[in-house]
Amino acid sequence: MRLGRISDFASSAPTLHGADCDLLDLPVAPVGWLADITTDRDALIRYALGVRSGYERTGRIVGQLAGLLILARLGKRFESDWPMATSVVEQARQAEEEMHSAWVPAAARHHHCYLLQALQRVQNVVCAFDRRIPTGDLLRAQLDGWTRELKLAGAMLSGAAVEGLGLMPLDFSQACCNCGTNLQ
């Protein structure tokens, strides 16, 4: 494991935004925490193992919710008792449990807090399923708000990515473009 260069993925994310970009509200992503000399590698690995399933699950929830929002917007209705919607609610509960049960070394507190904030953005959407879902123009406004929350959550997950610790928003291991990996 090459911990010396593990922030490469996150640091490659774009940092310039238009004046109306939703991502201007993005909290500052944790930087430099892996270099904390008081935390050894085993502690970082233990932390990563603890949060990884919650991290990946949150990413998948963002994707599922985004897909549901597309179906809702193009179908012009949204029902919170759709099986796909109820499944997301349960997954969000699991993600919260996984995130909170992880052991967190001092150096990773900011990172962990950042992940919890990303999860909170997701929860903001999921919790609204308990309330009455509007229709028509109000539904459109609701969907706009949810889309914004998910964009922020997705950007935060990318910002918290650490390749060397296995925290990646996309699993490339079986990707179409992985042809060269076995040749290295």
């Binding site: 599922q64 985004a66 490339f172």
Partner: protein
């Protein structure tokens, strides 16, 4: 009279790709170059594309290092030799939702995107599965779905349910469910605008990677499917038959975008940046970009 010009535009490549990844069962048969391309389709009244590649800002360095993808260039640079800017593109047909085909939607601010509804709904389903079934969402990026949600907000996303004739005039979308992915589609350009076209071209996406998928590996003219099927190889083979039938079994009219030998079949030009433009056909009155 031909309505559309078609060019295959290389935007990156893998120099050393295992042959087995593009031809099912071709184990221990060495390596070959695998170009990464998208397709530009241009007429007097439309500028369309098939797929958009991936976003180098988010993945580029990682992919370049990890998977040996080389020489990525932006749509702005890749389209420039054709006299086109990304903002000029009005219609984009996404063959499937893998990140290297759908991962750069943000680069095209004025285009309407067409994707199969099944591709979306099945990815939602796949993302809901337990970790042990993660293979079912291989190569998809949840943030691409997120970007699609933003496209829907802007009214620039069309979900297609099955086949769609004349998505734009003379261009049909054909569903290929449960093949390379859950909701693939292929694009049929009827360049003479006839219902039973004698001048048709098929942009096959990843349903056909290379000529061997259509012509066999030993000159035996037997279809051999691509190396990755989330659906079934049966469906891949039967889709190949459907594609071939649509062009009267004329192999040259099916465009495998990952095929390096396109440059031997169609007039092509290698640009100073090392990327290739292959000119598939020219609309009446359109000047060649490769001559």
């Amino acid at each position: 009279m031909s309505k559309y010009s078609i060019w295959v535009l290389e935007y990156a490549y893998v120099s050393q790709c295992a042959v087995s990844s593009v031809i099912y069962g071709a184990h221990n048969q060495g390596i070959r170059k695998l170009p990464y391309c998208y397709v530009l389709i241009k007429s007097d009244d439309h500028i369309a594309m098939v797929d958009v590649g991936y976003n180098d800002k988010e993945y580029g360095r990682y992919i370049a290092e990890k998977f040996l993808v080389e020489n990525w260039h932006s749509p702005k640079d890749v389209l420039a030799p054709c006299g086109i800017r990304p903002e000029d593109v009005d219609s984009i047909f996404i063959t499937h939702a893998h990140f290297d085909h759908m991962g750069n939607t943000d680069a095209f601010p004025n285009a309407t995107f067409y994707i199969q509804e099944r591709e979306l709904t099945k990815w939602i389903w796949a993302m809901s599965l337990p970790d042990r079934l993660r293979y079912m969402m291989v190569a998809t990026d949840p943030s691409d779905v997120l970007r699609a949600a933003d496209l829907a907000r802007q009214g620039r996303l069309r979900l297609v349910d099955g086949n769609l004739e004349n998505a734009i005039p003379g261009i049909d979308l054909h569903a290929a469910p449960d093949t390379h992915t859950y909701g693939c589609q292929w694009v049929h350009v009827r360049n003479d605008m006839q219902t039973r076209s004698r001048d048709g071209w098929v942009l096959a996406g990843d349903l056909i990677y290379v000529y061997e998928n259509m012509e066999g590996t030993g000159g035996d003219k037997m279809y051999v499917p691509v190396g990755l099927a989330l659906g079934s190889t049966t469906n891949l083979v039967m889709t190949t038959e459907e594609i071939m039938k649509s062009v009267d079994y004329e192999v040259k009219r099916v465009i495998p975008v990952h095929e390096e030998r396109l440059k031997e079949v169609f007039p092509s030009r290698i640009l100073p940046n090392g990327l290739r433009i292959s000119e598939i056909c020219l609309a009446t009155g359109q000047k060649s970009l490769v001559a």
